[in-house]
């Protein structure tokens, strides 16, 4: 059962070079993963603050939770919308791996849609409730938070299975085929925990920014920055620990790529860890020192860079796992440059239009003013 069966590559050639599709996939994935972390981690942190705040009558914590939840519906919309292109390019390039792993866990994979609807409407309800006066709001909020954790679980499951074609046939022959998510590899648990703790870190950063943007209430500002900052620091330290566990759990030949065998991979890994540590230090100082918003911004920038590096590392791990059994760059390509250029032009124009509209609404300066 360890024979790796991989479906044949589609006979229709890819309409753009693989490097361009990989670039677009990585770029859009980064834009997807930021709001996704806000939704996942922001939801967890907000729910915790809401429950904890209500229990101990900590008004500022409840208020912080309330402010955080108000961001969530828009963040979900962004997550879904920005999640489309990476999934699209993934399917175009890795179809034989991705469709197979999806079919092998079909019901759980399809259930993502139903769970997403529950989580989405749940977070709307959670965010629109008035300071969580109705206990039902907390219950619905908890359901929404769990829904997004389950979605994360299922995504990690599918993305892990797709790089292990040697597992495909065994699962396909099992009676559970199509019914159970894949968890049967030692990298699953650390990979899942690594991403969850990363999301909680981002949730902490969200709380910090809610505090920094507060102008009138100094007490609330201090509570938000402190709660968010410590959440960020704690979660990032745990994330580094789960990251080490994840690294050790990788197949030895893949792990060794980050341990000196591949200079680029090793450098990326080193820089990512360093940036995470710098971010922890900056945010810790910002929280303790209270009046250093630039440190928070610098810490956040470090985390942003870490996410970019992690995205590249993720792709290195994927390629290394699949190895020569599926070499994405060997697919037939017949570039349709006119279509590619049209897409890029539309992307630039669309982004500019959205930027202008946001600017007009936020600053209340529209066409009449100009």
């Amino acid at each position: 059962m360890n024979e790796a069966i991989i479906p044949s590559i589609d006979p229709i050639a890819l309409p753009a070079p693989v490097w361009l599709m990989q670039f677009l996939s990585g770029l859009t994935f980064i834009f997807h993963v930021i709001p996704m972390n806000v939704v996942l981690g922001g939801g967890v942190v907000a729910l915790f603050l809401a429950v904890w705040g209500k229990r101990g009558s900590r008004k500022n914590h409840v208020r912080l939770a309330r402010r955080m939840t108000s961001v969530l519906p828009a963040a979900i919309a962004m997550t879904i919308t920005l999640g489309v292109p990476p999934l699209l390019f993934l399917q175009a390039m890795y179809g034989p791996l991705f469709y197979t792993s999806s079919v092998l866990m079909a019901w759980p994979w399809l259930s993502v849609i139903a769970i997403l609807l529950v989580g989405y409407y749940g977070h709307y309800y959670f965010s629109l409730s008035n300071d969580f006066a109705n206990p039902r709001a907390l219950v619905v909020g908890a359901v929404a938070v769990v829904a997004f954790l389950v979605i994360a679980f299922l995504y990690v499951s599918n993305m892990t299975l797709m790089v292990m074609p040697e597992r495909f046939l065994g699962i396909q022959r099992s009676w559970t085929s199509g019914f159970l998510p894949f968890t049967g590899d030692s990298i699953f648990a650390p990979r899942f925990l690594h991403f969850i703790t990363g999301a909680v870190s981002v949730g902490g950063l969200l709380a910090v920014f809610v505090g920094l943007l507060e102008r009138s209430d100094a007490e609330f500002k201090a509570v938000a920055v402190r709660a968010g900052g410590f959440t960020f620091v704690g979660a990032t330290i745990v994330q580094i620990a789960t990251g080490i566990w994840f690294l050790i759990a990788l197949r030895p030949r893949v792990m060794m790529l980050f341990m000196g065998q591949d200079h680029v991979a090793t450098a990326l890994f080193g820089v990512a860890v360093l940036l995470a540590l710098v971010a922890v230090a900056l945010i810790l100082v910002a929280v303790i020192g209270k009046k250093r918003p630039w440190m928070t911004i610098a810490g956040t920038a470090c985390i942003g860079l870490t996410i970019i590096i992690m995205t590249v590392m993720r792709s290195i791990v994927r390629e290394a796992y699949v190895g020569t059994r599926f070499v994405v760059a060997e697919q037939p390509v017949n570039p349709a440059w006119d279509v590619v250029v049209l897409f890029l032009v539309l992307l630039v124009a669309g982004t500019a239009l959205v930027g202008w509209m946001i600017h007009a609404v936020v600053t209340r300066r529209g066409l009449a003013a100009s």
Binding site: Q91, S102, L367
Partner: protein, 525 residues
């Protein structure tokens, strides 16, 4: 056979897609129409100084935004998930050809979502001119996403010259592209009008109620005028087999087409006779009923459009069972099992016939058939002896135009027939079954009748529909024998007789006997 198969018991994968796609199609068309409706209604309010129109648009913004952002977006992703699970080969083919089409649609969707949210939040924040601009950006991007995705949807039914030449634009601007985009635009406006009718019906009775109801009903006018013309154009662009299926060759499809026309006519009659001429009589339950009818007509039309593609998933390129048209001849020689990556056996033999048959069913049939549920094969073959099933499989595409040809080799066909026959073990009367399988039966008439049940009874009865007795009236055995040798020249739609010589003699004798007999009491057999 390239990918593992997702077995969905009872429902079948096709229905899973339909359950997600139909609500999505309804909501997405409705949301696109909603964008145009909001921008236009606000414009009328500003231009003609009608504050009640502006207020009406404002009150309805959140609903359209939530529909677009949440339900529309999530079910749209849901279609993508489901087609990838049910038809990975077809999804892959579409994505390989149209990945940047989808990417462009995504940009437009991104603008639509952002503009919709900003339109909602901007009502009291920005000046009217800017708000109108954002409204038109919302409407334009929403309609633009339809213009793009329509190219991919229409491609599946009418890929046109793409099959020979390939290429993005050839596939995109395919024969049914323009009529489809016009039909969909009309539907968007009509659905927005139906929703607006519902909202207008909730206004307190009075002048505003009547004015808004009448205004909402006018949104059905483009569909009333345009749909018959564009639908006729659309049908004209279809492959002839799909046209035939709409016109009666596939009864279910004809019924669906009739339902689509009938329900649409009822909706338009309501919009004109009640909503436009007697707006005061439009109550919320009535408006709701017609919105539900809008959902129903969306459902039957989409179902019909999808079914018209049979036996293909991408017309003239890939069959519903993911077999490429160009591979059929090769697979009929080599066999499907040898080419199936995930099958339990790689060859059909008399010893493994049942296992091989089940596997072949999964590979060749299960994309459209379940065993016991939707389009369940157990009931479809009930009463059919094994040789008859095998005969059906041999001429599958000729006997049933909406089915693909059987793609296995003769051994695989036999194995599938055996497995299918095993689904109803005691289905046949003993005499017929024995006669059908025992070619050495002493009674030539019994052998002839068995041959009839195998070769003819799928389309003919003895004395009922398409009665064979009427066709062979007055035939002698030699005439019957001669005509069995050139069936396809007697009627172009009949398959040639390909049974063994002895069986042909027996069948001719039996035909001559019934051609000169009086009908049996009891009617159609």
């Amino acid at each position: 056979m390239n990918y593992p198969f997702w077995d969905v018991p009872l429902l079948g994968g096709g229905l899973v897609i339909a359950l997600i796609a139909i609500p999505h199609v309804f909501v997405s068309h409705f949301a696109i129409g909603g964008g145009i409706f909001l921008a236009w209604t606000e414009r009328i309010g500003i231009r003609k100084g009608k504050p009640e129109y502006i207020a009406f648009a404002k009150r309805n913004t959140l609903f359209f935004v939530l529909m677009t952002l949440v339900f529309g977006a999530v079910t749209g992703v849901g279609i993508w998930f489901s087609i990838g699970l049910v038809h990975p080969d077809a999804t892959s083919a579409l994505i390989h050809n149209f990945v940047f089409g989808w990417a462009m649609e995504w940009v437009l969707f991104l603008v639509e979502i952002a503009a919709a949210l900003l339109y909602y939040y901007g009502w009291d924040r920005v000046d009217q001119k800017t708000h109108q601009f954002i409204g038109w950006a919302y409407a334009g991007a929403a309609w633009g996403s339809l213009v793009v995705i329509n190219g991919i949807l229409a491609f599946m039914l009418t890929p046109g010259r793409w099959v020979e030449t390939g290429g993005f634009w050839t596939g995109f601007f395919n024969p049914s592209y323009f009529p489809s985009v016009l039909i969909r635009t009309c539907v968007c406006l009509a659905l927005a009008g139906l929703y607006a009718l519902l909202m207008a019906s909730r206004e307190p009775a009075g002048e505003t109620h009547d004015k808004l109801v009448r205004y909402a009903s006018t949104w059905l006018l483009p569909a009333f005028i345009g749909l018959p013309i564009f639908a006729a154009w659309f049908v004209f662009t279809l492959p002839s087999l799909a046209q035939d299926m709409f016109m009666g060759r596939a009864v279910v499809l004809t019924i669906f087409a009739a339902l689509s026309l009938g329900i649409s006519a009822i909706i338009f009659a309501f919009a004109y006779l009640i909503a436009y001429r007697n707006p005061q009589s439009v109550s919320t339950p009535v408006a709701l009923l017609f919105l539900v009818l809008g959902l129903a007509v969306t459902g039957v039309t989409e179902f019909g459009r999808e079914a018209a593609r049979k036996p293909y998933i991408i017309y003239d390129y890939m069959y519903s069972n993911a077999v490429l048209k160009r591979d059929v001849a090769r697979l009929q020689q080599e066999g499907v099992l040898r080419n199936a990556k995930w099958a339990l056996v790689s060859k059909a033999t008399p010893q493994n016939a049942l296992i091989a048959g089940r596997e072949i069913f999964t590979l060749a049939c299960a994309h459209c058939h379940t065993v016991d549920g939707y389009n369940g094969v157990r009931l479809l073959v009930k009463g059919w002896p094994e040789p008859f099933i095998e005969h059906q499989l041999t001429y599958l595409d000729q006997l049933k135009g909406f089915m693909p040809p059987f793609v296995g080799n003769p051994e695989e066909r036999r194995a599938l027939a055996k497995w299918l026959a095993s689904l109803n073990p005691s289905a046949l009367p003993a005499r017929t079954a024995a006669a059908a399988t025992d070619s050495l039966s002493a009674d030539p008439l019994a052998r002839g009748e068995a041959a009839y049940s195998v070769h003819c009874a799928n389309c003919h009865t003895i004395d009922g529909r398409n009665a064979i007795r009427q066709h062979v009236k007055g035939w002698t055995q030699s005439i019957a024998y001669e005509r069995l040798g050139r069936l396809e020249s007697l009627r172009g739609y009949m398959p040639p007789y390909e049974g063994p010589e002895a069986e042909r003699q027996a069948l001719a004798a039996w035909l001559a006997s019934i051609g000169n007999d009086a009908p049996a009491a009891g009617g159609a057999r």
